[in-house]
């Protein structure tokens, strides 16, 4: 599934995250998080899992996270992909 245009989803409230996806030649994941030190590897793994599930192999994925749980990370990324014309 291809990211055709810029797509954004989520909020900057606590327990939420803002996801921005844009077209790119390679897969680039950028993570900003209030809990980056402890959880960056888990957030990255979750993002990669959702991208793989939807067959997204390229694009710039930027997130600004405020301590979101897995279900919210999955939902916001899916919404951003859908808005980017990729789902």
């Amino acid at each position: 599934m291809k990211i055709c245009k810029k797509g954004q989803a989520g909020t900057v409230q606590s327990s939420d995250l803002m996801v921005t996806v844009e077209p790119a030649d390679a897969l680039i994941i950028e993570i900003e998080s209030t809990v980056k030190k402890q959880f960056e590897h888990l957030i990255r793994a979750k993002l990669e899992q959702v991208l793989a599930k939807h067959g997204t192999v390229s694009g710039r994925i930027s997130i600004s996270d405020r301590g979101a749980l897995d279900y919210a990370i999955e939902a916001r990324l899916e919404t951003a992909l859908q808005r980017a014309g990729g789902m």
Partner: protein, 306 residues
């Protein structure tokens, strides 16, 4: 009979707020209504339904009833809402703008299709229709009988007063006839009656007064907008110890009466007959649902053996 399901407090939880959604297991209310309708701006309808879908999938060990308020069936979002959230297995759907029995029947048909697709027992998904317009109040009797999935009728005073072009007051005189119509329709159909939200979360005394009023009228529960309102409503709905003691005495008295071959007996100078027994049985079933008594009241205790 099945255990009486308490629905004293149904808390609205905005569907697009993770911070509220993930607190659902911690709230003390009897049930929640996850909202995809008024609490979600038009630009976030898609995001909210995906968030609620993923939340429900992640919330496996449930400790309360979960309803989802979808967008009205006359909107372009309703079918996508159902498609997204039903695989997450909520207990039921709060149906806004249920103005006619046909609207409820339409939802019933859609739910049947999903139950077949998901391999669930037919009738698994419940419906709680909102009676929130003048038209719905007029049609309440027919709406209450529109589907065996109905667990109750929910009165929505905010939208109702909007359709009546009037203001809602704390005294609530303007709601009296509508509330009674909802109550008669629900009681005649043998389902619960759930009252509207009380929107001023800082006025606990007025909330208590309104809850006492609607309990006296016959409502079995109330919707709420803030978890802080839960305790007041539970306090009002909890049977009082003297009510329970009296109800136990009534059940004992009617048992003695029947042994003596009569259906009426005097208890402390007051007549006890069938309506008194039925009310007492209801107090005891409610008390049991509150965990205040262990006694199980069956139909024979109420009506006697043939």
């Amino acid at each position: 009979m099945a255990e009486y399901q308490l629905r004293r407090t149904l808390l609205y939880v905005p569907g697009n707020m993770p911070s509220m959604l993930q607190n659902i297991p911690l709230f003390q209310c009897d049930g929640v209504i996850i909202d995809l309708e008024d609490a979600v701006p038009l630009s976030e309808k898609d995001a909210a339904r995906i968030l609620v879908k993923r939340y429900l999938e992640s919330y496996k060990e449930r400790n309360k009833e979960i309803l989802v308020r979808i967008n009205g069936l006359d909107t372009k979002w309703a079918l996508d809402d159902l498609k997204a959230i039903l695989p997450g297995i909520p207990d039921g759907i709060r149906l806004p703008k249920a103005d006619t029995p046909e609207i409820v029947e339409r939802l019933d048909t859609l739910l049947t299709e999903y139950e077949e697709e998901l391999g669930l027992e037919l009738g698994f998904f419940k419906i709680l229709p909102s009676i929130e317009t003048a038209q719905a109040v007029i049609n309440a009797t027919a709406i209450a009988r529109a589907s065996p999935r109905l667990i109750g009728l929910a009165f929505g005073a905010e939208d109702y007063t909007a359709t009546m072009e009037i203001n809602r007051t704390k005294g609530g005189e303007e709601l009296f006839n509508a509330r009674m119509n909802v109550l008669w329709a629900a009681k005649a159909a043998g389902i619960q009656a759930i009252d509207s939200i009380f929107s001023d979360v800082n006025d606990m005394e007025a909330l208590r007064v309104e809850t006492e009023l609607i309990k006296r009228l016959g409502f079995t529960g109330k919707c709420l907008v803030n978890p802080r309102q839960t305790d007041v409503i539970h306090e009002v709905f909890a049977p009082k110890q003297d009510e329970i003691d009296y109800a136990l005495q009534v059940m004992e008295a009617i048992k003695r009466a029947r042994e003596m071959g009569t259906g009426v007996i005097s208890l402390k100078g007051k007549m006890v007959d069938m309506p008194v027994v039925i009310r007492s049985a209801r107090v005891l079933r409610t008390a049991r649902a509150h965990g205040m008594v262990d006694i199980i009241i069956n139909e024979e205790d109420i009506h006697g053996a043939e």
